[in-house]
Symmetry: C2
Subunit: 209 residues, 2 copies
């Protein structure tokens, strides 16, 4: 993170995750009496290398590179699911609006999300993506459909529902799909957010199977 | 819903909630062994008058007027919190994108969200609002700040955090704040979504108090 160039110059050239406001929020719900132990255990067991972490009473914020965020999310959720309890995770991804002030300046950041190792954990999720462009050529539905097409390509697309896209598959693939769509749209739109609700070990899915 | 006018004419005059794609998704997590009974009990105890309801393995969709959605959300969450369990609710609000096809046509709908009766239940929440306008005059941060200013006026604003606004207060006021901001921005932007994560009966808040 050391540089002799001014912050402004660096931002125009290749914004760092911090300069670009790259981060996520995770609200983890564990539907069992021992939820405190499961949640704190999952957070403690997952390395947060490269990330700024801040937990409040509603969610945990992590700031850092797209790849580190994906690795952390998959790790925390896999640990929580390993308890066998029904887990519901609410994830918000955001980039391009550092400090919620200078949003959508036209500067974009090329992020990277690689495939994550499979967890063996089956996930069902609902996903929404929001390209927040004020540019004259803005077409938010075009960008959303590009991200959904990517989900079809990688095989996690499980259907269109009101307001959301259903994703199913290995937990790592589901999270990677959402993050990859977010980064994909981020190549042309500065401020992009995405919301993902993930269900693990659901008894209603088990009953249906 | 009967009309002799063509659907197109009616849409231009005063789109109904259904024509305008007004709805919400609720993912309700109850952090106790008896979560199934609490969730199903809360859904069964709350009248869904005026709403289309469809539950899947990740969330429950409700479609209808803004006011009916608010009443239903407050009812379900108040019932779940009445169990005494720690509850986490993830709410998505959406309007202006019926069928996820003809979004942001420029037609707007004036919705209404009245004050809801207090529940006596303290809520802590994180809120995000997304005006999805492709119009030349689009300024999504201006619209977001108008909604946040409204939260300050009604007294539920509890601070700005990365990507979200913290809301605190009576459960009814917190949900009404989010919905009112969503409707407020909807006066000038067709497609507007909002995400709210609500924490009730949190042990970490009790410990801090």
């Amino acid at each position: 993170m050391t540089s002799t160039a001014s912050p402004t110059t660096r931002l125009e050239e290749a914004p760092t995750p911090e300069e670009f406001g790259v981060g996520a929020r995770l609200s983890l719900a564990v539907m069992r009496d021992d939820f405190v132990d499961v949640i704190l255990g999952a957070l403690a067991a997952t390395p947060a290398d490269g990330l700024v972490v801040d937990t409040d009473d509603v969610s945990t914020f992590v700031g850092g590179s797209e790849q580190d965020i994906v690795r952390w999310l998959v790790g925390v959720l896999a640990h929580a699911a390993g308890s066998g309890a029904h887990v519901q995770a609410t994830v918000t991804l955001s980039r391009g609006c550092p400090g919620e002030v200078a949003c959508g300046t036209g500067v974009v950041r090329v992020g990277e999300v690689r495939t994550a190792p499979a967890t063996g954990i089956d996930a069902s999720a609902q996903w929404a993506l929001y390209p927040l462009s004020d540019a004259p050529a803005a077409d938010h539905m075009r960008d959303i459909h590009a991200a959904i097409d990517h989900a079809r390509t990688v095989g996690t697309f499980a259907g269109s529902q009101h307001f959301v896209t259903a994703l199913r598959g290995d937990l790592a693939d589901v999270i990677t799909t959402a993050a990859a769509g977010w980064v994909l749209v981020g190549r042309s739109v500065a401020h992009v957010t995405s919301h993902l609700t993930v269900s693990l070990n659901s008894p209603s899915r088990a009953a249906r199977a």
